[in-house]
Point group: C2
Chain length 203, copies 2
């Protein structure tokens, strides 16, 4: 296997942290420089028509794109520890929380970054008004996460799951997006301190 | 179980079609009128803090939100026919295609609808420029689907999967979003004709 990797960008980090939490060594990494638009070349489009990173290339040549699809494949090969849950209800709740974070907090932070950060001006048609609308929604998204973490050590209960990786990376991504985490979200701060101290978080 | 349902909106339809394709009878439906903003009430926020539809309420009171989380729960209870795939690689490819369509075509069509349709002006802070940027991306997203369907009867091969439901509903959603499907996407037209003739599509 080979992993087409995008360095410090959020989705490549999610996949590398997932490998680390599973205790699975990373495959050979093929760096793709997003700042140099290497993911926008015709050669890379043939690997992933959506021109996103990361992509896991299997030994039979299959190019597996989309962060969660890659993570789910690794979960299938290495079921323990289960990061997508055990039985049907738990699996469904982890899927719900992972998506709730992706479609809420993660999506809004990404929109702020993509539509307001100067480094993205060359990669995106930036719409400052869209950045502002998303910026205004972030406290509501954070509140949903705060209430969940007030009642649970991790997003889905007593153990770390893929939803914690998604949520933790969304919080990390606030910094380059120039969004402050308000002081009074004390449960998010406790949980984010815990997960970002894990060895996997350096992956 | 009870299903908080949103009528003709795309995500409620995805879930009802999924039940039909599984051959599982729908649970009791609780209609929530999106046009009347019934999903924006405080009472509904306590059921789903993201204030989206549909939501499956389990017999133990658990509120399971997010379309794909609901579908995955039903797949867990009723594994056959498998609409999320059988072994690890096939499951990962179905996850990839489902997400590729959701984050590409479905997301862009939704953005056009939400940010340009007059009926949404009361529900959304509309950004016409964001609608136009998304409108311009739709042919690229369609081309990705067209090339896949040129080589496969269904999105992920010889059998219908959850990715076909997502993609078919995205195509259906183009009509109220006032986006034409170009004539030359002949494989999309053939496949969409096939799936929308299935009994499940009336669900």
């Amino acid at each position: 296997m080979k992993l087409y990797d995008g360095g410090r960008a959020p989705n490549p980090r999610r996949v590398r942290i997932f490998f680390a939490e599973k205790g699975v060594p990373l495959p050979e990494l093929i760096p793709v420089d997003i700042a140099k638009k290497e993911h926008r070349t015709e050669a890379f489009r043939r690997i992933n028509p959506a021109q996103r990173l990361p992509v896991l290339q299997l030994d039979d040549g299959t190019a597996l794109a989309e962060t969660i699809a890659i993570c789910r494949y690794i979960e299938g090969l290495h079921p323990h520890p289960p990061l997508f849950g055990r039985e049907a209800k738990q699996q469904a709740l982890i899927e719900m929380w992972n998506r709730r974070i992706e479609l809420g907090l993660f999506s809004s932070v990404s929109a702020v970054f993509r539509h307001s950060h100067p480094s993205m001006a060359e990669l995106e048609a930036q719409v400052p008004e869209w950045a502002e609308i998303n910026r205004e929604q972030i406290d509501d998204h954070l509140l949903v996460l705060e209430l969940q973490l007030a009642a649970n050590p991790f997003v889905c209960g007593d153990e770390l799951t893929v939803a914690d990786i998604t949520a933790g990376i969304a919080i990390d991504f606030m910094k380059p997006s120039r969004i402050r985490l308000p002081e009074d979200f004390v449960h998010i701060r406790r949980w984010h301190g815990d997960i970002s101290a894990r060895p996997s978080w350096k992956a």
